[in-house]
Amino acid sequence: MLNTVKEGWTTFKSIFTGMGVTMRHLFGPSVTLQYPDEKMELPKGARAKLYVNIDDCIGCNLCARACPVNCIDIETVAATSDVDLGKTSTGNPKRFWLTRFNIDMAKCMYCDLCVYPCPTDCIYMVPEYEYSEFDRSGLVYHFSNLKPEMVAEVKEKAEKEAAEKKRQKEEMMRKKAEEKKRKELEKQKLEANKSIKEDDSSSKPENNDS
């Protein structure tokens, strides 16, 4: 009987201690925000979305190689000798047309590993988080600012130059091969002459003997 009363008392007491805590919280300041109306300010370095400052990109592909999930897709075309793409704001010379620079934010794991290797600091995370889409393809962000016709032109030009270079190289190779052949022929001729001479000289003592 006494035990039951004692137990009842401890239960009663512990419930009221707990109630006291909740009561204190009831009159304390609120910790929640009414989200769409009120928004929390994200800190400066918050990792929420990848952004590429394409003007500073030199197309080195280091970010794509650092990505553990391969969400960065870069295609570059070498600039032809008649165009100068200028320099980035950090002073690195640009040597490639960036015909494609896509980041699939649906695949991205927000690990920040692509940010560190960038030599021009042009890829970084921005604290922007409201970018949900109805279609998954909407999460693929295209950063290349070249128009499709420009891409085609650039590619054609690069191909032409590459073909020209290849032709030149082949010509060089052909010339070299010809040169080699000629030299070989000369060598053979020389050798043939030598052997004739040698024959002559070797036949001489015979004549002497006889």
């Binding site: 419930i15 006291g20 800190p43 918050a46 590993l113």
Partner: protein, 378 residues
């Protein structure tokens, strides 16, 4: 009366608890063999969250690309997972880490331990019907996550540690932020004790439930709060110090069977609460000793290519002994990575400690061993 008893169906009943069940803490399926409401047998079925961590690690062409994946093992205590991995890599590569890095790592790991225990405690209370402590725990956890967010940029999966250092330095107000948190958090532990730990209903639900005797815990290879709840003084931070833990003065709280039997759910719970206090002590000392100046990335190697060899390193995660076995074949990617996850081991003892209890008590037992399914399945 006799007639009714004769007609009772005495066959066993098999029911599935989970995979979608709020108190299994993730996608865990427990196959229960029941006699009425009493559990005769429990079979945990795992694998619903298997993401091939170990195989992924072998596929990566860089050792540092594995770190974001270790985050995703135990997503509640990501910093501790990273810490274990980078410790193993540093021992494999024989790198000396700057002192400032070690201090920041310890502060981060202990903050994460508090955050993880807050979630574990809150969810445990929630399983037993105590909704309010859950919200209060989350409010406090939020403050820790804010500190993490300002430093690392992420709230849950940080990818903050690098082999040989850190990804970046802490934010400028890190010291004052953390000191402020310590100041406001101390009274909250007392509040939590008032609200939950010494609440009579909570004690009735947890004391003498799911008793794990000392010997059984050791035999099953338990570690962390589960082992300490059974009265074994075993903490890798003290018994096998890694990083700079030997510099700090703290105690290992153990279960004492205050409310019932030694090694019951309440003991495991209170060990976590007391561990948070010890973590606060460690953070305080680390903040005092944190060197002001120093480059946190100076010891980070440009290219990681360890020699042939293997290493096993263990560290104390909030859930227990976290071990990483890494085998290298002198290439850019690991030949083999094996993670020894404490949650997996603890889940293995569930059949042993829940036999003969009620279904409602099984909820308490699962909550008290504080498993994270991401770590169980990997």
């Amino acid at each position: 009366m006799v007639e009714i008893l004769d007609n009772i169906d005495q066959r066993e009943m098999v029911i599935n608890m989970g995979p979608q069940h709020p108190s299994t803490h993730g996608v865990l399926r427990l196959e229960l063999v029941l006699d009425g409401e009493i559990i005769k047998k429990v079979t945990p079925n795992i694998g619903y969250l298997h993401r091939c961590f170990e195989k992924y690690a072998e596929q990566m062409d860089d050792y540092s690309k594995v770190i974001p994946y270790t985050d995703r093992m135990d997503y509640v205590s990501a910093i501790n997972q990273e810490h274990g991995y980078v410790l193993a890599m540093e021992r494999l590569l024989e790198i000396d880490v700057p002192e400032r890095v070690e201090y920041i790592r310890v502060i981060m790991a202990e903050l994460q331990r508090i955050a993880s225990h807050l979630l574990g405690i809150g969810a445990f209370g929630l399983d037993l019907g105590a909704f309010t402590p859950f919200l209060y725990c989350f409010t406090e956890r939020e403050k820790i996550l804010d500190i993490f967010e300002r430093t690392t940029g992420a709230r849950l999966l940080y990818n903050y540690m690098a082999v040989g250092g850190l990804m970046k330095d802490v934010h400028p107000e890190f010291k004052t932020d953390t000191a402020d948190f310590l100041k406001t958090f101390r009274p909250k532990i007392k509040e939590l004790n008032d609200l939950l730990s010494y609440n009579d209903i909570f004690i009735k639900r947890t004391a003498n439930i799911g008793v794990l005797p000392k010997q059984v815990a050791i035999n099953y290879g338990a570690s962390g709060p589960v082992l300490r709840g059974s009265g074994v003084q075993w903490d890798l931070r003290k018994n096998d110090p890694y990083s700079i833990y030997e510099k700090f003065d703290f105690e290992i709280p153990v279960g004492m069977g205050e409310m019932g039997t030694l090694g019951d759910c309440w003991d495991r719970y209170i060990v976590r609460v007391r561990e948070m206090e010890q973590s606060l002590r460690i953070i305080e000392q680390a903040l005092d000793g944190l060197p002001e100046e120093g480059d946190v990335t100076e010891a980070v190697p440009k290219r990681i290519r360890p020699k042939n060899g293997s290493i096993y390193t263990r560290s104390e995660s909030p859930r227990g002994e976290l071990g990483y076995y890494i085998e290298s074949n002198n290439s850019a990617s690991p030949y083999r990575v094996k993670a020894r996850a404490p949650s997996f081991v603890h889940l293995g003892m569930l059949p042993a400690i829940s036999k003969g209890s009620l279904i409602a008590d099984l909820v308490a037992i699962v909550g008290s061993i504080d498993i994270v399914l991401g770590e169980v399945d990997r």
